[in-house]
């Protein structure tokens, strides 16, 4: 069965997606993501292999060990308020991208904005640039 290191788990769902036996269950509410690892007897270790945080390990089956469950509060988009990612995921992205690239030209910290709003902000800035360019060429 699976043993989870709650300090390392990002709450990303890679394990749940690769599990062939649907033993890793997602319970998602509006603002919280809960992952529940069912006690499993399989010898497969796909979840361990594909965990991007190396948070999982296989331990011998034991009925007395409680099934692991972790809840993550989902971060709120600063523009639209939708919940879009777990805090450990965002921290991981923050750690792997240089700080200068975490803000856009207008100084906005896009990490705290949901993908949908990022797309809209980017589309608006691209459209503005095209309009300015056309004005420059045909004053």
């Amino acid at each position: 069965m699976i043993c989870v290191d709650p300090g390392k788990c990002l709450g990303c769902l890679a394990c749940s997606n690769v599990c062939p036996s649907q033993n890793i269950v997602l319970l998602q509410s509006a603002d919280t993501r809960t992952i529940h690892w069912k006690r499993c007897k399989e010898e497969c270790d796909l979840c361990v292999e594909f965990c991007p945080a190396k948070a999982l390990a296989l331990v011998p089956y034991d009925q007395s060990i409680p099934e692991p469950e972790i809840s993550f509060e989902l971060a709120e988009c600063r523009i639209c308020g939708s919940r879009y990612a777990t805090m450990p995921m965002l921290m991981r992205v923050k750690a792997s991208i240089p700080p200068g690239l975490q803000v856009d030209a207008s100084g906005m910290e896009w990490i705290w904005i949901c993908p949908q709003c990022r797309r809209e902000v980017e589309a608006e800035s691209a459209a503005g640039q095209v309009v300015r360019e056309r004005k420059r060429m045909n004053p």
Partner: protein, 91 residues
């Protein structure tokens, strides 16, 4: 950089996507500043019609508003980086 299985990788100028390697962890979606990657069971990303010389959207756009222009993309990236440096950030 955040893709743990290298399902997303650089192929020349474009970012290519190997769907068979994707675990659907969603890290790329969170890391993309432009919000162009979405995830359900696996990630979805435009592959610029791999196998075609010109993407289908560019060919069919009735207003000829689309073009495949890596130069424009890199010009805009340079502009953004320059603005950042000008504002005291780090590119």
């Amino acid at each position: 950089m955040v893709c743990a299985t290298a399902a997303l990788y650089k192929d020349g100028e474009k970012t290519a996507f190997d769907v068979d390697k994707c675990t659907g962890c969603g890290m790329c979606q969170v890391a993309c500043p432009f919000g162009v990657i979405s995830t359900d069971k696996i990630a979805h990303k435009c592959d610029l019609c791999s196998g075609r010389e010109i993407p289908a959207c560019v060919i069919t756009c009735p207003a000829n508003a689309l073009s495949l222009d890596f130069d424009l993309a890199s010009r805009r990236a340079r502009y953004r980086a320059a603005m950042l440096v000008a504002r005291g950030g780090r590119a």
